[in-house]
């Protein structure tokens, strides 16, 4: 059907009211109530094609139909459709992408700021985030066994929600807890979830928590110069990359360096933009080079398993995105009522991602998701070696999933752990080391314990 759409000039389809091509093209038989996901997806593609062909009329018409289908308080398909439709409209109405950078646009869109306790509840609504936290923390604990000092470089979008359980786990070790240092950047991508406090405040709270748990703790914020004023954000990652050096980070020889990338890499551009610093490599690749040069003890990477990179065209992105982001909508549907505030807020945040993927191009499309397979190849080409998760970790993750709705599962792909919803991949977690010896040592230790 896609091929059909591309070949027919869309406007001719509607040349005459009697034209019945529509029904055959779209194969939408039956009453509106039977519109299922596949049908909605087709409508979205139809609309996108119309937009790409600059067929305003057709686009409007399809949007009109979609609007009658969509509802953000309906069933998962309807809800999904509403956010997709919104993204398409936003795309269509955007006049001048170059002057309206994404951050500018979103600064004018109301962004919900949560309190930290709300965020704490938010990350536990479904295992979408907690899966990554659990797997990574367990792997980090394993990899840093025996060290008396641990230094975590935390690159994430969840405002350190990962670390309380880590601190708690450190405090429960058989011997005296190692000291923990967490360093974060002063900047993070302008995406949900957002909080109403500063990162320094978060650090303070972690500090007091660690104190209760008798874990010596330090928190540092690394200044990377990127403006937090949305209008001024120029996506200049130069300083960010340059700051990743041993002296700025105050790395110490006696500490175990951990690099934790949680829903982070997808925000680093993968293409080559105009940047003096990044001559040959993309930002993402340069970042990985930098990390490797710090010689970390372990690198944990958690991200969304979906292919929405730079090269995908709009139609392909719509399909891929639609067939991926139905997962959180469906999961929330299983246990939350249709008008639940928490659920709607979560969905709005997913809608934000949809809006970016569908509505923007170029540097403003900051959501550049990469499939775990491709990511794994990328890490390999950068000289990293993957570590398998140990049995203990897998058990822990399984226990976690048991406490959530029964559709959540887990599977293994090479050395990575993948969170699944009804069998479909959602999030992957992986562990890497910068050289082969680390890998061999780790596996030996695992074998002996």
């Amino acid at each position: 059907m896609k091929a059909e759409l591309r070949q027919n000039p869309a406007s001719t389809l509607f040349a005459t009211p009697q034209n019945s091509n529509i029904s055959s093209t779209l194969t939408l038989g039956g009453p509106l109530s039977n519109l299922d996901g596949a049908c909605i997806e087709k409508l979205l593609l139809h609309c996108a094609n119309a937009l790409e062909n600059n067929d305003v009329t057709l686009a409007q018409q399809v949007m009109w139909v979609l609007n009658n289908v969509a509802s953000s308080v309906g069933d998962p398909n309807q809800r999904l459709a509403s956010y997709f439709l919104r993204a398409l409209i936003s795309r269509a109405s955007r006049l001048c992408p170059t002057t309206l950078n994404f951050n500018n646009a979103t600064s004018d869109i109301h962004h919900r700021l949560m309190s930290v306790t709300e965020l704490a509840g938010y990350v536990d609504l479904i295992p979408w985030h907690r899966f990554g936290f659990c797997a990574s923390n367990s792997a980090i604990l394993k990899a840093t066994q025996g060290f008396s000092k641990i230094h975590v470089l935390d690159f994430s979008i969840t405002h350190c929600m990962q670390w309380p359980t880590f601190i708690d786990a450190l405090s429960k070790g058989p011997e005296r807890a190692p000291s923990l240092r967490i360093s974060v950047l002063s900047w993070r991508p302008l995406v949900p979830p957002l909080v109403n406090v500063s990162i320094e405040d978060i650090g303070l709270r972690l500090s007091s928590f660690a104190k209760i748990k008798d874990v010596p703790f330090q928190f540092s914020v690394i200044e990377v110069g990127m403006s937090t004023i949305p209008q001024e954000c120029d996506f200049n990652y130069d300083l960010l990359l340059r700051q990743l050096n041993p002296s700025t980070l105050k790395l110490r020889d006696d500490e175990a360096l951990v690099v934790n990338c949680q829903n982070w890499l997808r925000y680093l551009p993968d293409e080559h933009f105009d940047s003096s610093y990044l001559q040959n490599d993309s930002c993402r690749d340069s970042f990985l080079d930098r990390i490797k040069s710090l010689n970390p003890c372990v690198v944990t990477v958690v991200d969304e398993d979906c292919d929405l990179g730079a090269s995908n065209g709009l139609g392909s992105r719509i399909s891929t995105c639609f067939n991926y982001l139905w997962i959180p909508f469906d999961a929330l549907e299983t246990f939350m009522p249709k008008n639940s505030t928490q659920r709607i807020e979560f969905e709005v945040d997913v809608g934000h991602k949809i809006e970016n993927v569908i509505g923007f191009e170029g540097i403003q499309r900051i959501e550049r998701l990469e499939s775990c397979i491709k990511f794994s190849q990328r890490m390999g080409s950068k000289g990293f070696f993957s570590l398998p998760f140990c049995e203990e970790t897998k058990k822990e993750v399984k226990l976690l999933l048991d406490e959530h709705a029964s559709g959540w599962g887990m599977k293994k792909d090479e050395d990575m752990l993948i969170l699944t919803w009804k069998g479909h991949n959602s999030i992957y977690a992986s562990v890497w080391v910068p050289n082969r010896e680390y890998r061999e040592n780790s596996i030996q230790i695992e074998f002996l314990t």
């Binding site: 779209l26 067929d55 308080v73 309906g74 069933d75 795309r91 001048c96 937090t228 209008q231």
Partner: protein
Amino acid sequence: MVEIEKSSSPTAVSPASGESNEEKPNQPSEIILPIKRKRNLPGMPDPDAEVIALSPKTLLAKNRFVCEICNKGFQRDQNLQLHRRGHNLPWKLRQRSVKEVRKRVYVCPEPTCIHHGPSRALGDLTGIKKHFCRKHGEKKYKCERCSKKYAVQSDCKAHMKTCGTREYRCDCGTLFSRRDSFITHRAFCDALGQETARSSEPPADEVAEAAGSPPPPPPLTPSAGVLSPVLSIQSSELPENHTVHLPQPSAAGALSTSVATPITTTPAAATTATTAVSSSSTTSSDHCGVFTSIFNASTSAELSHSPPQMASYSSPLCSMAGLDRPTIDPMSLSLSSSLYGASSLFPTTSHYTSSTQPAISATALLQKAAQMGATSSDSSFLRGLGLALPSSSDPQDNASIMVSTTSSTPLYWNNDVKLENNSMASGLGLGLPSGGSSGYNELMMSQSTLFGDKPATFDFLGLGMGSGEASSAGFSVFLNSMDGALDMGNTTFGSGGDTWDDPSDRKPSML
């Protein structure tokens, strides 16, 4: 013998041999839909898998293999065969097939279900059976303790294992059933202040510890109070940035005076200050002391903050706060009201009469839309549909995600642009460089009467923009309003349901 079952799936059906035991009387009715798909199909776990659609009867059937002698039912054929041996009947045990069996995925027969489409198929038979029961079956099993109901017995059993066994209570009073959510919450909870006052922490402080924990702390805990000065400093001391309206913690009010440290932005100082925190935290046992020492340290080493990144987000919000929440007029409603006269497709606000919806196919809608579009010449698609946007719309009408009327025009639109004819298809501004205005002119439909006294607005789908001086703020307002329609924070979205009624009142389920 395989029955062919009517399926509403759009893909072609070709009957093929179904499951085994053709000779058995109770045949599962199924259709096997071989689907040729290219690789990389998003959402499809295995593109070469066979998609199987079983009937509801099959999915719900408990014991479909029945012994002819004693009528005992079995879930699996193998079990029945073994049972038949006991009756001295001839039995047949199927060997596991040697050749590669093609992977099978299963779809839900319920046409409105999200798993009806092949791209959402589930990978195993048990999974689809359980799904069907859970979602479309009746809940026959009930937990004794909490009376939660389940359609699948194993779900109920799994629940009963953990029901009420473990509970974690935070000092703030919130109850948690999972330890990790409890720990995470506790780390950031304002009630943490009480904990640090204790000298040592009992290890078993977490489990169902209502007993022994202090009464909920008064709002003005030292920790919360001390934290707030940090926030208020940032707001008052950085005027060259924007006003920061951080929602203060409830404790905040009184304790905003304790710190008078100027803040500068020096990267080095940030880490110095935070290391000061840690060093003082190891020496000081008094919680208040920890925090006051931060600020003591900062008098020497300037406590530096770049403007809190989250706080800065709120400033554009504040600047927007002055703007009226743009009014949102549900386009679909106005369209449908014109299409169907008195009855509207979705009963919503009092503007529109509510009634039961006719069953309208999407095809028909598209045709109707096309009719409207094709027959109108100068007037817009919307006008042709009888869209009547009042010049003053309802505030906070959030039914539609699309329509809004605002008071300013985006930058690029001049007055009095007209859409010549509907088949004009030029730049929608997708990826257009700054020369977008000409393309957009063509898009715009002159709606001088449509929008009351507001001259030419663009109107693509009734996303009304009034006239006014062109300003980029207008555009952002437009985007804001778009988001406003969906946004929980500002609108009565979902709760109160002033626009969309509960879907059950509407047409039958969309899925």
